[in-house]
């Protein structure tokens, strides 16, 4: 090595370190303080406080430490196992459907079809509407005898089922409504991913004689992998925690057929078992973290490999 190239490398190393340091200290650290305070007070502290309260029997007046009893009682609850399986079904199905439908719609909406802008607005619109409003509306629409859906089906001679009143169907109806409401966001994320793919790949592929289908599987899908990760993680977290839609449509009914962990916890809160529902929330936190965190790390590792 010549001293000149050594010197040049040293200089560039110093320069990059300097630029790195200046990039790091562009804002003094205390700029983060307001955000950190809000985050701590509203999220961190209550989360850790709930870890303590989960071990107590408490109401607004008294606290009584009872150890693991709340957790034992929560797991002995016969409805809980059904709540768990329902939660997993709900999370996985909504996530999967949003990925598949979101990507399909994104491909459609980034191609050259007429009224593309209008369709994009229509698909995204449900994301903006209140979840409770959607729940109440669909509760009326899906009424087995007076609802618009079954009345329309009757016009075609089909007797519609009890969408929200059949215990075997209720959860899946709600999943359908959830996907209808949330697919717009997945589509949006995918659209951003698709338009970021350089045209060159498609041009090169068309020179090689690739069909649309091959284009899709070999170019589009691999290159929107970051978007797929985002959609899966976000929709899985939302799906596992889902409460508003289920409560607004069926309140976990009929009976316990569409209960998920969040509605089980809410019912215990309603009954005044505050300690028990706090324990339930801690369990939900642990479950969601246990599912999503490994998934997140696995995706990230895949991405850096890519």
């Amino acid at each position: 090595m010549t001293t000149l190239s050594q010197a040049m490398r040293l200089k560039s190393g110093l320069a990059s370190r300097r630029s790195r340091r200046s990039a790091g200290s562009a804002y003094p650290y205390w700029f983060f303080l307001p955000g950190a305070v809000i985050f701590s007070v509203l999220f961190l502290i209550p989360t850790f406080a709930s870890f303590y309260f989960a071990f107590t029997r408490w109401d607004f007046f008294t606290i009584q430490f009872i150890g693991w009893d709340n957790f034992v009682m929560f797991f002995k609850d016969p409805q809980l196992m059904r709540g768990f399986t329902n939660t997993l079904i709900y999370g996985v199905l909504t996530s999967g459907l949003k990925v598949v439908l979101g990507l399909a719609l994104a491909v459609l909406l980034t191609s050259n079809i007429t009224a593309r802008g209008y369709l994009r607005a229509v698909i995204f619109f449900p994301v903006l509407v209140s979840t409770i409003g959607v729940g109440i509306t669909f509760r009326a629409l899906l009424d087995p005898f007076h609802g618009l859906v079954n009345k329309t089906l009757a016009g075609f001679g089909i007797t519609g089922p009890g969408w929200l009143t059949d215990p075997n169907l209720a959860l899946y109806s709600i999943i359908g409504v959830d996907v209808w409401k949330g697919v717009g966001l997945a589509t949006l994320i995918y659209m951003a991913g698709i338009v970021a793919i350089p045209r060159d790949y498609y041009e090169a592929a068309s020179i090689d004689g690739a069909t649309g289908w091959k284009n899709f599987w070999s170019i589009t899908v691999p290159l929107v992998a970051p978007a797929t990760t985002t959609v899966i993680i976000l929709s899985l977290i939302g799906g596992l925690r889902s409460f508003d839609l289920i409560w607004a449509t069926t309140r976990g009914g009929p009976g316990f057929a569409s209960d998920v962990i969040a509605s089980v916890i809410y019912k215990q809160y309603q009954a005044g078992y505050y300690g028990l529902s706090t324990a339930g929330n801690v369990i939900l936190f642990v479950v969601v973290t246990a599912i999503v965190l490994p998934l997140f790390l696995w995706f990230n590792r895949k991405q850096t490999d890519l």
Partner: protein, 401 residues
């Protein structure tokens, strides 16, 4: 001044009663206006709202709420205004006094209706048309059901659109549990008797299962509401509807000419001679202990527990035996209420379990819905309800659980 009164939605009768009392009181006390706020939700939502507001000290001046064990869940000794020093307390029927009392002789509420019976409403013209008689045993009831079904009508109306209504048959059956063992309620409270291990207890759950299996329910049982059910039994589309007698009042608005077409009988057991009715003590009006207008509120409670109060209540509804001395039922009470009087007169009544025991599991309605739609067997539901009750008792910290 204005007093606010928190009221639940969903049962028009209760709102009408509150409004009638507020109007009548204002006439006598023009300087006090009572505003009835009927936005409190229904069932568990109302429960939730009341408990939270009491706990945070933000309750309105007056509130409508159940008596008995449900009152106990509000922690009344801490949260409600004690009115035991008021002169009208001695005018209360002793059985009612018991269900609005707390520890150390505290009394909290004045009754908003008479005592009511939870039984089976039936359509009188349909009975006449098919030549049916009021059943004294469960088997006779099932025979009537078969006849009604054969005539193309709904035998038993169910309305799970309002899930709380699913409990009526099971709760109304309590007289039959009581007649087999008069001390069952205290054993149950002490964790010494369970539904699943008491034959009559299991029966109260399996009855619904038998009705469901026999195909006696209405087509829309899973989504119909309380008002749908009342209308169905009043119109003769359904023969039977398990419900409280006192809730006929919504028919006064929706089907006033059909009100006299319904009657009521107690849920039958297996022994005709041991037939009796399960009685619900009425809800009461209470005030929070931190109310800003204790004197005005006490004046109102005194009004409610007086003849003038009874008259106001009677203008909105008529239910069973009134529980304040000096109040009597008018002669033009509708037939369904007159049907309840023989039970009271003969003494063949028992307060429902929730008035004899502080323990009530919160999931009974959901469990009965599952029995009604075939998801759970009656025996399994009884077992799960026992577990639900156990959880409630442990959360209340009751001894022996």
């Amino acid at each position: 001044m204005t007093l606010d009164w928190l009221q639940g939605t969903g049962v028009q009768t209760n709102i009408d009663i509150a409004q009638a009392l507020a109007t009548a009181f204002h006439k006598k006390n023009p300087d006090i206006t009572i505003k009835v706020d009927p936005s409190g939700g229904s069932g568990p939502d109302l429960d939730n709202l009341v408990k939270t507001r009491l706990a945070t000290g933000e309750m309105s001046d007056l509130l409508w709420y159940n008596s008995g064990s449900l009152l106990a869940s509000l922690n009344p000794n801490k949260t409600l205004l004690n009115v035991s020093d008021q002169p009208w307390v001695k005018d209360l029927d002793p059985s009612f006094l018991k269900v609005v009392s707390g520890s150390k002789g505290a009394v909290f509420g004045a009754p908003l209706q008479g005592a009511d019976i939870g039984g089976i409403l039936y359509n009188k013209p349909l009975y006449d048309q098919l030549g049916l008689k009021v059943p004294q045993t469960w088997d006779e009831f099932m025979d009537n059901n078969k006849a009604i079904k054969a005539a193309g009508k709904t035998a038993v109306e169910q309305t799970y659109g309002d899930p709380w209504t699913s409990q009526l048959l099971q709760l109304g059956d309590f007289y039959n549990i009581y007649s087999a063992d008069k001390n069952w309620a205290s054993k149950y409270t002490a964790n010494k008797a369970k539904f699943a291990t008491t034959p009559e207890g299991v029966r109260s759950f399996e009855n619904v299962q038998d009705l469901a299996k026999g195909g006696f329910f209405n087509k829309d049982f899973a989504s119909a509401t309380l008002d749908d059910g009342l209308r169905a039994v009043a119109n003769g589309d359904a023969g039977h509807y398990p419900m409280f007698a006192g809730l006929y009042t919504s028919l006064l608005k929706t089907a006033p000419d059909k009100v006299e077409d319904i009657g009521i009988f107690a849920v039958p057991g297996d022994n005709a001679s041991k037939n009796g009715a399960t009685v619900w003590m009425p809800p009461a009006v209470y005030a929070p202990s931190n109310t800003k207008h204790p004197d005005a509120v006490k004046k109102f409670l005194a009004f409610v527990a007086s003849k003038a109060g009874c008259d106001a209540i009677l203008s909105a509804t008529t239910t069973g035996t009134l529980l304040v001395k000096g109040c009597t039922l008018p002669n033009n009470a509708p037939g369904v209420i007159k049907d309840t009087l023989p039970y009271f007169k003969s003494g063949k009544t028992v307060p429902a379990l929730e008035f004899l025991s502080a323990v009530k599991g919160p999931n009974l309605a959901s469990l009965m819905v599952e029995v009604g739609n075939g998801t759970l067997s009656g025996a399994e539901a009884a077992k799960q309800y026992d577990q639900d009750v156990e959880k409630a008792a442990q959360q209340l910290g009751l001894p022996g659980w």
